[in-house]
């Protein structure tokens, strides 16, 4: 059988990839996808712990994470579309109106 730490390592790698993508990518949609990648990594670790400690709550939680991710993706993409309409660009460096 596969040790728990393997699953956690895989989960960590996926999460780190997600953070890196979040930091270095310029296309807003790609950044979003990196976020989804992070969520997936976390889901994996939940399920791994659920199997390790024999508790189904982990899997139920994964279910809810997915629901939230879906809602977030929907709203986030809607926002991206709205931003694209006004700024005509998907480059996150050019969406800098948040400065003081």
């Amino acid at each position: 059988m596969v040790p728990l730490s393997y699953y956690l390592a895989l989960s960590g790698i996926l999460f780190a990839c997600g953070v890196t993508g979040f930091l270095i990518k310029r296309n807003i949609i790609t950044i979003f996808m990196s976020i989804e990648l992070m969520l997936n990594g976390v889901n994996l670790s939940f399920v791994a712990f659920a199997a390790h400690w024999h508790t189904l709550a982990g899997q139920v939680f994964v279910f809810f994470v997915m629901v939230v991710a879906a809602a977030e993706a929907a709203v986030g993409l809607a926002i991206i579309i709205a931003v694209y309409r006004t700024r005509e660009t998907l480059n996150v460096d050019q969406v800098n109106l948040l400065k003081l």
Partner: protein
């Protein structure tokens, strides 16, 4: 010790990691999206290995099948092209990458401290499986279902409201803005 489980784990794991790295490397968002779909599929396989059938199915149906399709549609709608190399932020590289590395190292250190080679153990499950048919495998819909509707009923209902809100938000945010300002009272009627 080498077993089928380990081989399968490594195979799915390799696909997942390759997909993740490819997401970082690719310049066109559609390629990144497709890589992400590959990651999700591989993760569904991992879930199956862990005995979470229901979660695996939901992963494929919802995540890969709905959310990623949504992403692809958006990429198509916005006609996203290849990414330009713009100089964005020094902070992201100077502070963010080291931060991320540090975090990863810490987590790795914790994991390695507590890890052994103990496998995922078999044994009794903590949730009561009283409502569950005798032959049911933990992780199947028969076992997850009662949990969802008994212990986790409140989150379940709240998430349904959350989805409703998300729908409304997405519709409002993404709809075309009206071409002319809405009419005020008393306007729109000639003389």
């Amino acid at each position: 010790m080498i077993s089928v489980h380990l081989i399968l784990f490594l195979m799915f794991g390799a696909i997942a990691v390759a997909g993740a790295v490819n997401l970082l490397v690719q310049r066109h968002p559609i390629n990144s999206a497709l890589s992400l779909i590959a990651v999700m599929a591989a993760l569904a396989g991992e879930y199956l290995l862990l005995g979470a059938e229901f979660v695996a199915a939901v992963q494929v149906i919802v995540y890969a099948g709905a959310i990623m399709v949504l992403f692809v549609f958006t990429i198509m709608l916005l006609n996203a092209g290849e990414e330009e190399r713009t100089k964005g932020s020094r902070v992201a590289f100077l502070v963010g990458i080291p931060g991320m590395l540090l975090g990863s190292l810490l987590v790795a250190w914790v994991v390695l401290r507590h890890s052994g080679t103990e496998a995922v153990a078999a044994g009794g499950w903590t949730e009561s499986l009283a409502n569950v048919p005798a032959r049911a495998v933990p992780g199947s819909p028969e076992t997850i279902g009662p949990l969802l509707f008994h212990e986790f009923l409140l989150p379940f209902e709240i998430t349904s409201i959350l989805i409703l809100i998300a729908i409304m938000g997405a519709v409002v945010l993404a709809s075309k803005p009206p071409s002319s300002p809405p009419l005020g009272p008393g306007q729109g009627v000639k003389n």
